[in-house]
């Protein structure tokens, strides 16, 4: 497959952030629009900078009032403006990504990240060995501190002994209460692989392959990188050997600001009766505003598979196996299987917790998925799609449940059967709850 052009259509609002949030110091709300103020334009009108700084220093500063007091219209000083669901007040507005000419677009990184998640999920679902690796790794991560303590006790302060694979094997057997030496050996191999080391090398005395007690103790402790060993197992040991190098995704073409608006997003949570409701606590409403691409916005982009990386010559170095190649060559199917799993779980969750708007949206999405044309695919991208649409969470939950990893509070304090996550972000339209964020349809453009 060479380069394929796709048309991307937003099925629900799509917010892809820049990391920037607008506050009341950045813009003005006026008659249903949010104006981002361009200070260069303000100063071009002869405004005294000191006076403006003093006004901003007062707690009650508002650009709307400040401009009105000087008979300046927001249009005169706006970098850009967008329709806005409600006056932001003290609520921050998440900026949506645009190019330097203020034209929104969908970055390739966003799409590729979503595709990567789908591929990881698909490979885990269809490769028992990989799932077994993930299971062992998660068990080791839950028991990492215990294993580290046992290593410490057994080594008695001897640094060389601390790094002895045989001692690590004993610690694993003890911590996991394993009678079977063979099973403990497999866990030991998993431990070394998860830490990016070669067990055989360590046994031969290669100092580069040593595993320290601290490495074991910290295994899986950083939640920002918990999935990394699983991704390396499935996709490649480092970025140079990563399967996703094969897939070249282009930034989308740009669209106009007309396709963007500031929308209201409310955090929903389970109330005491088990209903999914807008979250309000101690007089505080958990709502936020985001610059999003409106539903039905369409842009084109290209996807290309670099077949060179599957060539016989490249195979000598990269060694991608058949399941990996299939995952790339059957990309629409892979993404749609993942989307189906996410949609099904979200739909069930919305039904169980009495949230009809979300339930209806997912019902429509399910119907769309079932009727997709050849080569088309659904993805969830950007902010607001929720934990389940960004992770391989269902597989992790299965492992937690199967291995009863959450049952002992001292070993992780996880209850795999509890509703998780308890919150959902819900996009509003016309003042009413309407949809989850981030669902897009990609259809190949024929001809």
């Amino acid at each position: 497959m060479g380069s394929t052009t796709y048309r991307l259509t937003c099925l629900s609002p799509v917010h892809i952030g820049t990391g920037q949030q607008w506050s009341k110091f950045d813009g003005a709300y006026h008659e249903g629009r949010w104006y981002v103020v361009d200070l260069d334009k303000v100063f071009a009108l002869g405004v005294d900078g000191n006076e403006l700084a003093q006004a901003m220093g007062s707690g009650a500063f508002s650009w709307t009032e400040w401009l009105r007091g000087r008979r300046i219209s927001p249009e005169q000083v706006a970098l850009y403006s967008l329709p806005c669901a409600q006056p932001p007040g003290e609520v921050y507005i998440r900026e949506g990504i645009k190019d330097v000419y203020l034209r929104p677009y969908i970055p390739a990184t966003t799409l590729k990240g979503a595709i990567r998640t789908a591929i990881v999920w698909y490979l885990l679902r269809h490769d028992e060995q990989a799932k077994a690796f993930a299971r062992r790794y998660l068990i080791l991560a839950v028991y990492a501190k215990d294993i580290g303590q046992i290593v410490n006790r057994l080594a008695k302060g001897n640094r060389q002994a601390e790094e002895d694979p045989q001692l690590h094997l004993r610690a694993i057997r003890e911590a996991l209460e394993l009678d079977d030496t063979q099973e403990a050996e497999v866990f030991l191999q998993t431990l070394y692989r998860a830490l990016g080391k070669h067990l055989e090398g360590a046994r031969r005395g290669d100092r580069h392959e040593r595993v320290r007690m601290r490495d074991i103790r910290d295994l899986g402790s950083d939640r920002r990188f918990l999935a990394l060993p699983v991704e390396r197992y499935l996709l490649g040991k480092d970025p140079n050997h990563d399967l996703l190098r094969v897939l070249q995704v282009g930034d989308s073409e740009t669209t106009s600001l007309e396709q963007m608006e500031v929308g209201l997003v409310w955090t929903y949570h389970l109330d005491s009766s088990g209903k999914l409701q807008p979250k309000r606590e101690q007089g505080m409403e958990y709502r936020s505003l985001a610059e999003w691409l409106k539903p039905e916005t369409g842009v084109r982009l290209s996807l290309r598979i670099d077949e060179n990386l599957f060539s016989e010559q490249a195979n000598k170095v990269l060694r991608f196996h058949e399941a990996q190649k299939q995952a790339i060559h059957r990309l629409p199917e892979v993404c749609n299987r993942y989307a189906q799993a996410v949609i099904e779980r979200q739909r069930t969750y919305a039904a169980q917790h009495h949230q009809p708007q979300l339930q209806e949206f997912y019902e429509r999405l399910r119907q769309k998925l079932n009727g997709l044309p050849d080569g088309a695919l659904l993805l969830n991208i950007g902010w607001g799609g929720g934990w389940e649409a960004k992770t391989v969470g269902d597989i992790v939950q299965e492992i937690l449940r199967d291995d009863q990893l959450g049952e002992n509070p001292q070993k992780g304090n996880i209850n795999p059967d509890a509703p998780f996550p308890e919150t959902r972000l819900v996009g509003y339209q016309g003042g009413a709850a309407a949809y989850p964020l981030g669902w897009v349809l990609l259809e190949p453009v024929r001809g």
């Binding site: 330097v100 990240g113 990881v120 990394l228 094969v246 740009t254 010559q313």
Partner: protein
């Protein structure tokens, strides 16, 4: 003693348009407060971003190697990340290898006895941000994060916890135009063996340019950056006779706004007709 004679030069000029954001990495800002993680390379005097000829040349060679199915047999770096390139290690193969002939091979002990080595045919110059193009004027007026560049924030999301790790990349925005670019392709006659192969291999250079348009230049190419297009192209031939003052003007081999507009199949015949020997 080898007798090497320059028989002419093919000069390809034009502009390079960044179709998507372009990131050709420069020196990291180190401990600068407010410094960016992944800066782009900038001209040391003007501080404007530019495209190093080495980036252009290296990527075209790599793509041509792959297109011709040449084995990456030479280690540039043996430790991780291992870096391998193609270089013929047999003189007979070298004589027929367009990639090694156009882009050259490094001198080495194993080539000490070769007596039919030629210099690389290709010179690729650095390409500066256009000083005259409308796109540069627009870029100057745009509210960019840094002069002429955007800082794109991204986040790596953990696929178990969904925890995000932000990162930032500096890119020359899509639409920027670098010009003029110039590539010089030399036609060398070694010991009177003629330049027919050199003439024939010119098409491989243009093929490499076409392959580059369908690939990417610089970093982060598999996730959106680095798509470029060659524009406003002109291909000239300056013969030996031209440099000796016997011919007034270079011969125009082709002209057009895109690579497709050049009539490449006619280049060889036009060169043969205008060698002026």
């Amino acid at each position: 003693m080898p007798n090497l004679m320059l028989k002419g030069k093919v000069i390809i000029t034009g502009a390079i348009e960044a179709v998507t954001g372009l990131h050709i990495g420069g020196a990291a800002a180190g401990l600068d407060i407010g410094g960016i993680d992944n800066p782009v390379i900038r001209h040391p005097v003007t501080r404007e971003p530019y495209i190093p000829g080495s980036s252009l040349r290296g990527k075209m060679r790599s793509l041509l190697d792959k297109h011709l199915g040449l084995e990456a047999n030479k280690f540039i770096q043996r430790r991780e990340p291992v870096v391998r390139v193609h270089e013929c290690d047999d003189e007979e193969k070298y004589l027929q290898c367009p990639a090694c002939q156009i882009f050259g091979v490094t001198p080495g002990d194993q080539r000490r006895d070769w007596n039919r080595l030629k210099p690389s045919r290709l010179i690729v110059r650095d390409v500066l941000l256009s000083q005259t193009h409308e796109a540069t004027r627009r870029l100057r007026e745009a509210k960019t994060d840094l002069p002429f560049t955007e800082v794109k924030w991204e986040a790596a999301i953990d696929r178990i916890t969904a925890a995000a790790v932000p990162r930032q990349n500096e890119r020359v925005p899509a639409g920027a135009v670098f010009s003029p670019f110039e590539m010089v392709y030399n036609l060398f006659d070694l010991n009177g063996t003629g330049i027919e192969n050199d003439i024939q291999w010119l098409t491989h250079l243009l093929k490499a340019m076409e392959l580059l348009e369908d690939d990417y230049l610089g970093g982060y190419g598999s996730r959106g950056a680095g798509k470029i297009a060659f524009r406003e192209l002109k291909v000239l031939f300056k013969s030996r006779a031209y440099y000796e003052g016997k011919v007034d003007k270079p011969i125009v081999l082709g002209e057009g706004d895109t690579l497709r507009d050049l009539n490449v199949s006619q280049f060889a015949e036009k060169i043969r007709q205008n060698l002026g020997d």
